[in-house]
């Protein structure tokens, strides 16, 4: 008996749809939630000839190759993520062979000054070895260490410390002026 009632209801619904199809109901726009439009960026400056940084410039290296790779606490081995970052640096450096770089190893504040200088030196040396293995001439690379003297993140938290455990690659000469 219940089945019969359900079938009847279904037929009624179909009849209603059929009625709509033949005689459209007045068009009512669906009620969308009110959302503020995204803030408009200020009007762009006159369009440059080329989008993005000048190829071969320091900004190009920073943006497209990446200039920092990160390490675990008191470690200097390169993670697969760090190696992928360094592959991009190596490719960029091979495309622009006049560029010379300084690799600076950095440590977080969870260590003492002198030990962290030694740890930073290990990190910059690890990056140097990797880049040389990828074909970047050793003569183009200088390394140094800042220990815990050059934090980039002032948060005293795991996230902040993780960002401060890095090796930073800086183009010191030979970049295209952009």
């Amino acid at each position: 008996m219940r089945n019969v009632a359900q079938i009847a209801t279904a037929f009624a619904a179909l009849a209603a749809v059929a009625a709509c199809a033949t005689k459209p109901a007045p068009v009512v726009a669906p009620q969308a939630p009110v959302v503020a439009p995204p803030p408009r960026a200020p009007a762009p400056p006159p369009a440059p000839i080329r989008q993005g940084p000048t190829p071969g410039s320091i900004e190009d290296f920073q943006r497209n190759a990446g200039d920092r790779v990160y390490f675990d606490y008191d470690q200097y081995d390169l993670s697969s993520e760090s190696r992928a970052g360094l592959d991009k640096q190596a490719a960029w450096l091979q495309r622009y062979p006049s560029a010379r770089i300084l690799i600076a190893g950095n440590a977080d504040e969870r260590g003492t000054r002198e030990y962290n200088l030694a740890l930073g030196a290990r990190r910059s040396a690890a990056v140097r070895s990797y880049l040389v293995a990828q074909g970047v001439s050793a003569g183009r690379i200088t390394t140094t260490s800042y220990g815990k003297e050059r934090p980039i993140d002032t948060r005293a938290s795991e996230d902040g410390w993780a960002r401060n455990r890095n090796a930073h690659t800086e183009i010191t000469s030979g970049a295209v002026v952009g």
Partner: protein
């Protein structure tokens, strides 16, 4: 007089045996136990030094004020409030009315006189009295002649003479501290070498702040400092002459150089040289410029510090998997691990007495300064904070200074603590401060 000698000898014996003063003869009237003294500091009176005219009276007030502050800061002595003094002295040769001082419970009394002479030089003399015994303690009073602008040093020299006579140990007041003055935000820090008296007075800046400088250390024999500077872009060990303000790089090396310290004879510097990521300890003779490699291990080897007899070196190495302390012969032979507690051990520095090594220990996310015997026994942690780092010893091996960040958001400042773990004090500096290094007693 015989009583006094007995007291001093007993004090020395108590120190050697590490015994509390309770073991001293009961006859002792003035007794300062350097190990337990902070529990029961010796009450003393030091009236303003007598002056015969306005300028020398001012000088006399200043001298007595600095002497009282020196002795009080040691926590072995407690000044009786000068407002309670009864007797007024007209001359350093007046005999004290001992009853007037006994009633104040003063046990020691210092009476001094300052005169500015016709030639503009000042003359200072003083006497020390044992109030209970009602007699002068002889052999301590001295006369000093100096230009008036040196009055602070004269006050510190008098404090040292009093401290030595009453404790049996050398004082440490006529000394200076070299440290790193810090200004600016964490990501754009300006660091300058600075020097001040041990009580925080007379700060002078030795470098201008254009180059990052770290870890200054005094020569034990000359007015010279060795430190790390980034003046050439890379970490390099430098020497600084305090008398001439001359800076000089310590030789040319194929890698980074850092973590310098002088040998006890001042004739050489030990430091770390990093090549291809590997840090090793080297020694350089400052006269011949000959260099000698002391470690040979793929691990980090850094922070070398000589024993005061020059025969051994303590250093940090992570050859065991984490940074720990090792002691080797001065030639580099026979390195032996001496730290076995929980945590990471770095920045070892040998006490000028030779009996202990101070260090920074990092455990459970916090840092503390501690001491351990050179054979690795008797480890004691003296301090604990978010960051306590870089101990340095007073020349008598009784006080340790270090730098501290109380909390994550705190800026670094200088602090001192007694070897007992008591008497923790903040040292006043004009800005933020780190990396203190204590001078020897000034010549």
């Amino acid at each position: 007089m015989r009583n006094l000698i007995t007291r001093v000898l007993a004090a020395a014996a108590g120190l050697l045996l590490g015994l509390p003063w309770a073991s001293a003869p009961a006859r002792a009237a003035i007794e300062v136990d350097i190990v337990q003294g902070h529990l029961n500091p010796l009450p003393f009176a030091a009236p303003d030094f007598i002056g015969t005219d306005g300028p020398s009276q001012q000088l006399g007030r200043d001298l007595a004020r600095v002497i009282r502050a020196d002795l009080e800061r040691s926590a072995l002595f407690r000044p009786v409030d000068p407002a309670a003094y009864i007797q007024q002295f007209g001359s350093v040769n007046d005999t004290p009315r001992f009853a007037d001082w006994q009633v104040l419970n003063a046990q020691a009394l210092v009476v001094g006189q300052a005169n500015i002479q016709a030639d503009g030089r000042m003359r200072v003399e003083f006497r020390l009295y044992d109030v209970s015994a009602g007699q002068e303690i002889e052999g301590v009073g001295q006369q000093f002649a100096a230009t008036p602008d040196n009055w602070r040093r004269i006050a510190h020299k008098i404090s040292d003479a009093l401290y030595e006579r009453l404790t049996g140990e050398k004082g440490y007041f006529d000394t200076r501290i070299v440290f790193v003055d810090e200004r600016g935000s964490k990501t754009n820090r300006v660091k300058r070498l600075a020097i001040m008296d041990q009580d925080g007075a007379n700060t002078n800046f030795l470098t201008g702040g254009d180059a990052l400088v770290l870890t200054p250390r005094f020569s034990p024999t000359a007015q010279q400092i060795t430190y790390l500077s980034f003046a050439f872009g890379m970490p390099r060990v430098f020497l600084f002459s305090i008398d001439t303000n001359r800076q000089e790089v310590l030789g040319e090396f194929p890698g980074l150089t850092f973590a310098p310290r002088f040998s006890p004879d001042g004739g050489s510097v030990v430091f770390t040289l990093e090549v291809n990521g590997n840090s090793e300890i080297y020694r350089m003779d400052l006269r011949t410029r000959e260099r000698q490699r002391l470690t040979n291990h793929p691990a980090i080897d850094t922070s070398p510090s000589f024993s005061p007899d020059g025969s051994q070196i303590v250093f940090t190495s992570d050859r065991g998997g984490s940074p720990q302390l090792y002691v080797m012969e001065a030639s580099g032979a026979n390195p032996k691990r001496i730290s076995f507690g929980q945590g990471r051990y770095t920045t070892p520095v040998w006490s000028p007495r030779g009996d202990l090594i101070a260090f920074t220990r990092q455990a459970s996310g916090r840092f503390g300064v501690g001491v351990v015997r050179p054979d690795g026994s008797g480890e004691r942690i003296l301090s604990d904070a978010y960051l306590d780092e870089g101990p340095t010893w007073s020349p008598n091996g009784r006080v340790i200074m270090f730098f501290r960040q109380f909390t994550v958001s705190d800026e670094p400042n200088l602090w001192s603590v007694d070897l007992t773990g008591q008497n923790l004090r903040k040292i006043s500096t004009p800005g933020d401060a780190s990396d203190p290094a204590w001078s020897p007693i000034l010549p």
